[in-house]
Amino acid sequence: MCMWSRSQRRLALICLVGAAGLRAQGTLNSQGDIKINVPADSPVTLVSTSMGESRAMPRGAALVLDLHMSLTLRNSSPNRIHGVALRVVSQEVTVGGKASVSVPSLNVGPGEAFPVRIDLQLMRPTQVAGGPLVQVDLDGVLFQDFSFYGPDRLNSRRSMTAWEMEAQRDREHFKRVLAQFGPQGLQQEMLSSLTRQSERPQLDVRVVRRRAVSGAGAAVNAAQTAQFAFVNFPDSPVEPLDGWAELSGNEAQSPRIQVRNRSNKPVKYVELAWLVSDEKGRQYVAASLPASDPDLYLPPGRTARVLQDTELRFSLHSEPVNIRKMTGFVSQVEFTDGKVWIPNRQNLENAALLTVLAPSAEEQRLSDLYRKKGLQALVDELHKF
């Protein structure tokens, strides 16, 4: 026998759902919901954490977390810090998604503090186990002398070393321009850089991973195998020999490129830049193509194959871009001794690649500084290095 009428039961159910929704919607706190791991022996210390307007909101059967976190870190080491990488993971996101936030091009002296902002949105099922919603770990710190601290689970050492080398390369370039042609010459160079950045075509690329993929990957309708053309830099320690990918309309997949180590040192990582051209001959950066083998060991004179099973789809302003040609060049090499090679600026300029490639992080920072604060601020900044 039931004591409640049907309408009473319905009302109670509505109240229950409403209460659950209200409970789910709330602000996040940095104590229980967010876990920040900065090891005790780390060269940076966490000074403060601000959660701003972070909150969790129910959306259907899912929970949407909006995390606006600002960390203040202090350099507690005796060396200047030039880059920091933080790893951001949510154990509840079963797709295996993870994220990182890196801040390169820093110049933080001992005892100085600097901010790192993390703006994250997470959508996950409401019914999940307890524990922190988001975990932030220090993945690495790069110093001025290229020494490194950190667990390096995201290969931050290699990435930050390459960014720092690009930063040094481009700062040197701008300092040389300043020395040879004076402030007006530097100004012209900055204006050219800003023009390149604004005119640089940028494709929208979607990366699709299929769980059922095995071997060569899922078939693309009416795919054709297309060959890569290569740009060879004279000083590159690794040269591309040949390569193909499957193309179908605006989709490309399964790129594979054979490379040879022509240096006298063993190589443990190779990355190529993958450029594509559309029907009108306009060239775009499609992706970087890293070696898939995490245990790559390429002795001098030996060859290896760089391949990936991912599927890429290209569009521009929401319209598919059909791919007609592909070009590749070696963009990064790491030797077994930890040294990293990147193309020099002259080679990029000679190959007319500066207009296609994104500027380095440092060039982006310096041009933004010039744009916002003017020529003298830029000159002062260059003199700091």
């Binding site: 295996g96 890196s102 949105q121 979607r206 929401s318």
Partner: protein, 191 residues
């Protein structure tokens, strides 16, 4: 009977008619049910309008440095063009000055338009297979998603964002953080 126009009735409903026109409309309304209903309808519409008039405030403070930067840039570009010219006439509206003025105004307008209406970089389209894991750019960030779950790193408010893709299953957004002035590189990965 000649009825007042709709615009007259609308102005009447809002009390925006002049004294003579108002007197004439009063006289007409005294004997015309149809026009009284129209006026009542216009009055009702006006009651609803204030809610629509609550236009969200533009965030002018964050826009100001961008606008100033673009104006400075336009002027600097103009100066560079002028300094490389041969000696020439100095007329008030020379081509270079006009170009600089137009460029500066265009830069300000474009910046304002872009910031007010950020260009949608990628609309999520239909997925070929439900089991796919997708990395993509969105209007305000980069995300890895799979069905009802997803992880997105946002770069709201950032200008000149550089996107790059790693064929192994990663996506990167690089920008100068407008609050800290530091270059920030966001990455999302598929494991």
């Amino acid at each position: 009977m000649r009825h007042p126009s709709e615009s007259t009735l609308a102005l009447y409903a809002g009390g925006d008619l002049g004294p003579f026109a108002r007197w004439r409309t009063d006289r007409h309304l005294a004997g015309c049910d149809s026009c009284r209903e129209d006026v009542a309808a216009f009055a009702g519409l006006r009651d609803a309008l204030p809610a629509l008039g609550d236009i969200p405030d533009a965030l002018w403070d964050p826009l100001a440095p961008e606008m100033k930067a673009n104006i400075r840039l336009g002027l600097a570009a103009g100066e560079c063009v002028r300094s490389s010219d041969a000696p020439r006439r100095h007329s008030l509206f020379s081509g270079v000055r006009a170009a600089v003025a137009v460029a500066s105004i265009a830069a300000v307008l474009i910046t304002a338009m872009v910031l007010e209406h950020p260009f949608p970089r990628q609309q999520p389209g239909p997925r070929r297979a439900p089991e796919s894991v997708i990395l993509q750019t969105t209007r305000d960030g980069i995300e890895v998603g799979d069905g009802g779950q997803g992880l997105k790193l946002k770069h709201a408010g950032a200008q000149n964002v550089m996107y790059s893709v790693g064929a192994q299953g990663s996506m990167r957004a690089r920008y100068v953080d407008p609050e800290t002035g530091n270059v920030t590189i966001n990455n999302v990965y598929v494991e």
